[in-house]
Symmetry: D2
Subunit: 380 residues, 4 copies
């Protein structure tokens, strides 16, 4: 079982992550992790803090020797460049919970007297370390020919038109877009919408997609509910702050269609293939061999300059919620985090199927699975 823990507050010293269970022999590129951290920090509509922090960079503290994993836990550190909690004792307590945040629920749950003690951890800042961890997962998947891409489909109700079908073209389009949006024709309207929301003290949400290409058939399982790949991916996506819904492919639209136009017929041309991929790459909790395609609905950020009504938790007097300098739109960033968490789930499922002690042995087993037809012998 591959597993990880993260720690760290938004304005604390650093974010920390430990990954346990990686195979030995995996080359880990710090540059690639930093590239993903940078992608997460970008995107039109990010607030001032992202510019202050400028550039997150990761430090690998353990688990790597001579550039490669050795089977031992890999620990990662992302320092906070604006470590404010240094003087935490002098910070005034916050007593008004912000709607749309964990503020009230968290304070009730943990009996916390200063809402800052909730928001410091509940902050989406934590996704920086998860992005770093997902980046390591992507590097593992990359050894087996899998590639992932997260990008923006919709912002503030403005939806992309058709995007490049070729993965490399799609990636280029996404990388060049300030919004990680693959349809240049909607970029200007999206940015205008963000500017307008900003001017009005408002925020915008949207929808992002994550595509995982090259995923072999047979990851996940139908044999027990908690091993289903669809469930695991759903959990991962909904664990991203602000994500409130998800679907495989066009699941909501497909639920209105007859079965005859929803399923993916099976072909054989040397390998088993599908005529279509409406299932989004998972059937019965198991990967089909087609690309995994998931979409996630991101709510508009709840930290508004045009503030929402709330109540002081002590005095019970109605007041407006505290405004903390914030972003207007984080859908592009969320798509990067989405890519990371999908990578993590796939890496777990891949290691479960192909082993996790040693990369070279995993490669042998994987290659063997590609080289042979599992159904060569006739049914007895």
């Amino acid at each position: 079982m591959l597993r990880f823990l993260t720690a760290g507050e938004s304005h604390g010293k650093a974010l920390v992550g430990i990954i346990e269970g990686l195979p030995a022999g995996l080359h880990i590129s710090v540059d690639e992790i930093n590239r993903d951290l940078r992608a997460r920090q970008g995107g039109y509509g990010r607030g001032a803090r992202m510019q202050v922090i400028e550039e997150d960079t990761v430090e690998i503290v353990s688990g790597v020797m001579r550039g490669k994993t050795i089977g031992s836990p890999v620990s990662l550190l992302v320092k906070n460049k604006d470590w404010q909690l240094r003087n935490e004792d002098q910070l005034a307590g916050i007593t008004v919970p912000r709607p749309g945040h964990a503020d009230l629920g968290g304070a009730v749950k943990y009996g916390l007297q200063d809402i800052r003690e909730v928001s410091e951890r509940a902050s989406a800042r934590e996704t920086a370390i998860r992005t770093a961890i997902g980046s390591v997962a992507k590097q593992l998947l990359g050894e087996f020919g899998m590639t992932l891409l997260g990008w923006v489909l919709e912002i503030g109700g403005i939806r992309c038109g058709p995007v490049p079908l070729d993965l490399q073209d799609l990636r280029n389009a996404v990388d060049q877009s300030p919004l990680r949006c693959a349809d240049p024709s909607v970029e200007k309207p999206m940015m205008d919408a963000i500017d307008k929301a900003k001017a009005e003290g408002d925020t915008l949400g949207g929808v992002f997609a994550v595509l995982a290409h090259g995923v072999p058939c047979g990851l996940g399982s139908y044999v027990h509910w908690d091993r289903r790949l669809d469930g695991l991916l759903a959990q991962a996506l909904l664990s991203i702050p602000s994500v409130k819904g998800m679907e495989f492919g066009e699941a909501f639209a497909n639920s209105a269609k007859p079965g005859s136009s929803v399923h993916d017929e099976i072909l054989y041309d040397g390998v088993f293939r599908r005529k279509t991929n409406r299932a989004g790459g998972v059937e019965g909790g198991v990967s089909t061999g087609e690309a995994i395609l998931v979409k996630a609905a991101v709510k508009p950020l709840p930290t508004l300059k045009k503030p929402l009504n709330s109540v002081d938790i002590y005095t019970k007097v109605p007041v407006v919620a505290h405004y903390q300098r914030s972003d207007v739109c984080v859908v592009p960033a969320a798509s990067v985090v989405g890519e990371a968490v999908v990578a993590w789930v796939l890496a777990c499922a891949f290691c479960e199927r192909f082993g996790r002690d040693e990369l070279s042995r995993m490669k042998e087993g994987f290659q063997a699975s590609l080289d042979r037809d599992p159904f060569t012998e006739r049914l007895e």
Copy 2:
């Protein structure tokens, strides 16, 4: 940690479930479980088998003495009234995987030579035992004033209009509907659509909702991604066969709106409340104290009389997929399963917060949490 395992094939002897970690002192009503099993089997559009099996009933094998749990694992048995695998050796092997099922992925994963060895477990028959387990979870939640209801919002693109706001009215409407649909005005069109699909050898999907009423604030947590209540609920829903998407409240629609019209302002009238519940009862991974409301997109069943193209796994010759007597529409049944899996997740989160050794002690702790304001003391 509350946990369970299930076992059992669709046409095997029985489905088996073991629940470990229930508090002692919980009265378990077999009748209530059977009522849920019956609800799962009903619904306009179910096929012949549901009538053959007629009525699933549960047998509690262990963990209950004098009607109450004793802290020990509770095991449940649901016998298959049409145990066909009795003569499994005489059954011909199936060699053509059905699109939309785990057939191909499962056979590849486990190296199975007869697709029946996949489909027997991947079948939605397994949800009968999960429904029973969820029913136990609901009985636990019921001790703390929580009630759950799953119902149908949409079938074949036909969508409910406004439904009763009062929970009891809603429940009555759902219980009286052959489609578990709370809007009588769409029942006839939905049934017509099902009849038409049946006549055409086709199937229909739809959307269901699950509402959990009375859930206290503070279940789940933002402190680690895998403890978020939203992620856990998403996993549970997506682990139901045929469910391909989910959202909290109107998450997809809300993702197109500005933040100022999406969040739920905080009031205080003796307790903290919300003016609206657009979040569907979860903020930042933690329950808000408002009702949990989730929706799930159910794909139309992939077992079609109008068969889909596939390939024989041995000969590689294109053939049409095997048709097994099946249902036309399972959205009503899925809504019952949805209720069960949501109950399970909430029971786990509730036990994590309020303990799980003994029901009476849990009640004391829960009552104490209701009786006091956690913020009585001023911030130091």
Copy 3:
């Protein structure tokens, strides 16, 4: 991750077990499981109930088709031939906890008012289903050339002398002994001691060993504490009722010796071997490739005809503990259970290293690991 849950009370309807995560394609012999169940019930010194129940037999409810596993959860049922709880309501409550049992701790923990509600589950009867589960694990290990044997080293202070070094000779000696003791010269004294204890209303404990032969090098891991094979084996052994201590090889005796006479020098004769096996087959949490040898200290049973002082939990009046018809010595039975739990731990560790989807693929990977020298290439 291989996992299982068990359920069932001592005098309830049945014991139930579900194993999740077994590879597909494993032939499971019900006869072998029944043989192990029989071995567990035997042994000089067992009480009357064992004769009443006579012979536990297992029923496989699911997860096996045509004699082989299919990847789905395997569920097992062992019916209780003297199902007394049928009329549980008429049974008088027990209010005096027996020293040496979970009675008092269990009643306090779960708030139980009748100690029977503790003892029904805390009873060693539960080890019957664990023996069945361990028997399945042994069958899996057997596919890879591993064999296990549990036997008695000491009863009531009477210790075996030298036993056969050859595994088959050892197994024969154990199978022929009414005490599962491999040294015929101590059998008579042991049986005399048991007779004497019985006559005095007393009980006897002892020490058993479990040997696992053919375990490949590299199971378990040092990279994280909870993956160490030594820790996992220790937990498994101490989870057997009445086991209160364990050691690898002669660990307690070795702790008094200098390092130069405790460690196992490394040789090479085509494969890496050890000159000795004082480590009991595990170094640094990883299997060495030598046989795993563990020993466990079994306390004398606490259910004595010569009763111990206790207190009524309601009246607080001192009384002597309830005597339930019981055994005089269960060390032989415990050695069978020990064999089972060690098999389980090794099966988990083996599957972790060599996969768990499909037996034939596991065999290929295992054979490849035997066929090659992992160190053929020179250090760069």
Copy 4:
């Protein structure tokens, strides 16, 4: 579920630990952690490196605000003062596995070409961070009146005589002893034995004890094997490098005695008590309310100046094992680690029973459990 992960190599930058699931509101003293780290580094018989590193100190990176936990993961850093892997590329590879270490098994498992890649993580250096984590667990337990002490019973076959019965006296004796040995009369002989072993290039093992005082009745459970407190403690102890055996109380000696002299009769004097504590504080997998007392057998260190025979993994030529500057006797240090790991297991079991969201609420529940007799009402 309380959980932690650790990372870090022996000569890497730092050891890292993340604890997830601690209650909010726990004051954490860095000084106390450092005191435990110091205790672990001490002990007559430690080698030169301990003096080089001088004094491990912990840095809390996250999870604590204003000195108290906030429910968020607590991350800990212990820097290595002699970070040698800084120039890892220039270090020559090690090709001769040392008997008694994970060297060979680890290299085989992970396919590592340089044994240093095993030994850096398999090193007992990792126990520094586990000691820090256990220290946090002790601080949590301390809030509920529990205190723990690990000390040395035996070194090189020289065994303590009677030790102070009073916990504070015992602690004083242990703290003042260079060997953490509570019987001053054996200190000199022990130190002489260590000196002699050192002079001979040999090493010494021994036995340590851990006592946990004030543990309430009802921690752990008999209802499922993997929840038994005895099994969990056994795993924790055997996961300490060099520990090869363990027992509760005098389990091995008791296994030779009749039942009538092994069990602990139950008294009542306002609370339930035991006349003796031969069980070592656990019956049937549940804490009895008496002190937990466990003992562990520590093997003599395998890194000997008088080297053991081994084989070069590449050339297969017999050579003597690499000698790395090392300690002669680590039993005192192991007793500190033992205290830490026992604390961890007890903290988990305590949180499972009394909750883990908020310290003040846990205290209320705990106090309530002390204040009332769970058996006040008569059996219906």
